[in-house]
Amino acid sequence: MKKGLMVLFGCMVFFLGFAAFAWAEEGVTDTEIHIGQWGPQTGPAAAWGSVARGTGDYFKWINATGGIHGRKIVYHMFDDGYNPAKTKAGVKELQEGTGIFAWASGVGTSPGLAVKDYLMERKVPWVGPAAGSLHWVSPPEKYLFGVYPLYYNEARALVRYAVETMGKKRVAVAYLNDEYGKNGLRGAVKELENHGMELVAQVPVEKSDSDMKPHVMKLRKSDADMVLLWTTVSHAVRIVGTAKAMNFAPQFMSTSTCSDFPLMTHISKGLWEGVICATFGELPDSDHPGMRHYKKEVFDQFASKDERWGMFYAAGIIFIEPMIAALKNAGPELTREKFVAEMEKITGFKGIGPEVNFKPFDPDDMYSRQGTRQTFLVQCLADGKAKKLTDWITLE
């Protein structure tokens, strides 16, 4: 009798324990939601390190205003130095050690590609990679939601503007010789095809290149009247500067990753003036109510004293706004499946970035997971301020 009771008690403990385990979601407790992000605080892409810091301050503000259904966000950010090997090691360590509910943003195509399969195999949601790569959504993945405008579409919007509005006839591209640069190159080629045109030059730039004279000589030789720059910030500045020195003065255009005009103006010593960029969010110093709100509530209260209110810092909020909306809509019984279901219900979402629309997962429709098709174009003015050239452009 006594033995039977012991067995019964053991079974109860086992099943109750199992039931509790089955209910709990990885990275969620009664009081916390664990969210991770990588971001280059050092290394060649450190100029984009403020994205992860912007997200961190945004989470601090959410926690200070009550959290999400009573839970605080615990933010796990690490510096991967834009090194995919470090990204993978850091993500695995946090995922398997701490247990992360979902991943937010994360700078870079190559670092993101290093962990994409790992996260998707484990069915861990990842929202708003801070890179406009086609790899996130081609083919689409159930747990990966893109918020950044595709580089491919940015390049198309810039080339379209150059050809149709500015009447440019000879377009060349200088691109970083990796997937980031090649996404921009493909977009430019496609848009020119649509206009019955071809590139007059395509010049690859290697990450380690510091002397841009050979590249600019090739561009000058092509007699391009518009040069699209899909490189790192420092390469872009060096190309524009070297071109000026060589008396080569085409219209330069560039990707949203080079659209932080105060920074670009400073490091180019004013030579960035006149460059046209695509962008992924409202301008930080604009009168947009959302931007003013975040500047006052998030940046002024939570940013460190060395931080600068700029496009990349704001990007850390832009890419995560839909995630926060879905977390709130998922209610207090938070699970990954509920969260994904709420992400899929996001339509017509307008924060400080482009309009975001998701759909129920369809493996044949990349726009079920690529939330935006919009970008707009801005031109850099003498003092690093931006002039809006277009409204939001929607590309199919």
């Binding site: 380690s208 060096r238 020195a245 060395d306």
Partner: protein, 291 residues
């Protein structure tokens, strides 16, 4: 033809910063037979220190640069005194590992103190100011770098050949025990060598800084400078400089006529070829010891 001349001129221009880094490495190698992989980061620390003097404290350029050279010399001497000398009879491999460790510490220090965001240093000559002769473009800043490299090379050449200190440095490299016996304070010589080398490297850093500054800015010049030093034979000052210019020109011609994609790799392909066919370098004398 214009393109060819432009590529050669650009090659010479870019070779100047390689030459300065190559010279700095050769100076230490001549005395201790150690390739100093912290050379780039020593220049980096001095460059950021100078920028701080210029922007935070508002010092005039001449004063900031003068203090920078003093700082560079002190930094080199300090690292030798405080780190290298403390190692207990390390072999060459051990010393290389120490310099790599130093490189990481200095890089981390700059990232921590000055942040990783890109910056530029104020300088009287703009980074893209240039002379245009016919259709050929020559950067003013790179012209200054060229004259600095040649000037320092000549100065160092005469220093090593005709001054007592220079001769003592050569003696320390050739046989440190014998040098000690004849009364040369080899420890002091090593410290001075590191100081002089640091000043030469800092000159490269200071002339790169007006273009763009970030914690990784010295990697490319260091690697190319090392390539030039190896090509030149590691102990020859004019050899390192000539190899640096050769490297710059080959890189540019390769980028212009063969493949721009593999332009950066060509330097290392040349090292492999040189080490295969002339291991002592293109310009150094090959010593054979009888045993």
């Amino acid at each position: 033809m214009v393109d060819f001349i432009q590529m050669v001129v650009s090659g010479v221009a870019v070779g100047s910063s390689y030459a300065l880094m190559g010279l700095a490495m050769v100076i230490i190698y001549k005395t201790s037979e150690v390739p100093n992989f912290a050379q780039g980061e020593m220049a980096l620390v001095t460059s950021f220190f100078t920028m701080m003097l210029l922007t935070t404290f508002g010092y005039p350029v001449w004063l900031a640069f003068a203090l920078a050279f003093v700082f560079a010399a002190a930094l080199g001497a300090f690292l030798e005194f405080a780190i290298l000398r403390r190692a207990k009879n390390p072999n060459i491999l051990g010393t290389i590992v120490i310099t790599i460790g130093l490189e990481m510490v200095l890089l981390g220090l700059v990232s921590w103190k000055f942040g990783a965001e890109h910056k530029t240093m104020p300088f009287p000559i703009g980074p893209y100011d240039s002379f245009i002769i016919g259709d050929i473009f020559i950067s003013k800043l790179e012209t200054l770098t060229l004259f600095s490299a040649l000037g320092l090379m000549i100065l160092l050449f005469f220093f090593f050949r005709y001054t007592r200190l220079g001769l003592a440095m050569k003696a320390t490299q050739q046989n440190s025990v014998a040098a000690k016996i004849v009364g040369i304070r080899t420890n002091r010589i090593m410290m001075m060598t590191w100081g002089i080398s640091s000043v030469v490297g800092a000159t490269a850093g200071l002339l790169i800084s007006p273009v763009i500054m970030h914690p990784f800015m010295m990697w490319d010049p260091l690697l190319k400078g090392f390539a030039a030093a190896v090509m030149g034979g590691m102990t020859s000052l004019p050899g390192a400089v000539a190899a640096a210019y050769l490297l710059g020109i080959i890189e540019n011609l390769f980028g212009g006529y063969v493949s721009i994609e593999f332009k950066s790799v060509v330097a290392f392909a040349i090292i492999v070829l040189v080490l295969c066919f002339k291991p002592s370098g293109l310009f150094a004398r090959h010593y054979v010891k009888k045993v």
